[in-house]
Amino acid sequence: MTRRQILDLYFMDARWKLIDLAAFIDRVERAEGEEDFRMQAFRTALLELSKGNKERAKQVLLAFSDPTTQPIAKAMGKGAVGAYKKTDSN
């Protein structure tokens, strides 16, 4: 497909998602309290969008990922929260 055809197919959807993203950041910043590791990872991931890298989706995923390589001692729960939190034990 040409770049124009891709824009015709996906621009409105991407525009909607971008505005929703902006509104999310505004909402977080209007709220009381401190940001946590999730928002820090989110801001790091956002920087990837304006870089010239051709694999932005991959770079955003890497920004949220656990970079360590060894198994953890014990699973303390089952869920994932979406961003890696560095602790003293890792």
Partner: protein, 269 residues
Amino acid sequence: MRYIEPHAHMVSRVTDDYLQMLTAGCAAICEPAFWAGFDRSSADGFYDYFCQLTEHEPKRAAKFGLPHFCWLCINPKESENLELANDVLTLIPQFLERPTVLGIGEIGLNKNSRNEMTVLEKHVDLAARHNQLILVHTPHLEDKLKGTRLIVDLIKSDQRIQPGRVIIDHVEEHTVQLVLDAGMWAGMTLYPESKCSPARAIDMVEMYGNERIWMNCACDWGVSDPLAVPKTALEMRKRGHNAAAIDKLVYQNPLRFLSQCPKFKLAEQ
């Protein structure tokens, strides 16, 4: 259009979903064993579940003319409990010869813990000893990259396992290449809120090729769409992929991988 749904948890779905999938062109459904959303209290619960997967669910699907196959294991979300996992691993061999069992799955990791690794290794050994195909679940979100690396390294270290008989599921842009480079198959899971959107899945096919790759809906008791595969096929058409390319991805590829198990036979083959 015809397609194979290679990963769907139909025990958690209503009967209408079978009808919808059949109407959309589904030719077969494969159901890996998974976590019920709560921890089962003993191996007896797994015995019943394996009977459900190998006896009851194929009958329910057959009412709609749909072949139903399954994979057996204890899911990584329950692998932290080594005693329970060992009890379940002991149960599995008696089910492996049943006519609709395709292999061991969906095994893998959840939080990348040592106990999960121990149970994964035992499942891989079980598959090797019984010459079974392997279907692997990779962890969610921030745990996926590390977990995928650990899983691929563990399986590659077992010389009895042929990489082409292993499918690593739930790949995303940061893990698909390392799976394909290891000679294994890659599964892309289409979810409304996480994993892959249809657009991103098609992006990956365009970037990484359409060999050793399939798409699945992994519909279960959570937010998921049993028609995600045919909907993505329609989006492929909008993106200019021709009928043969779509058929390869949603029918021929899963057929090729699954047919490595001689029990996977479809009427039209």
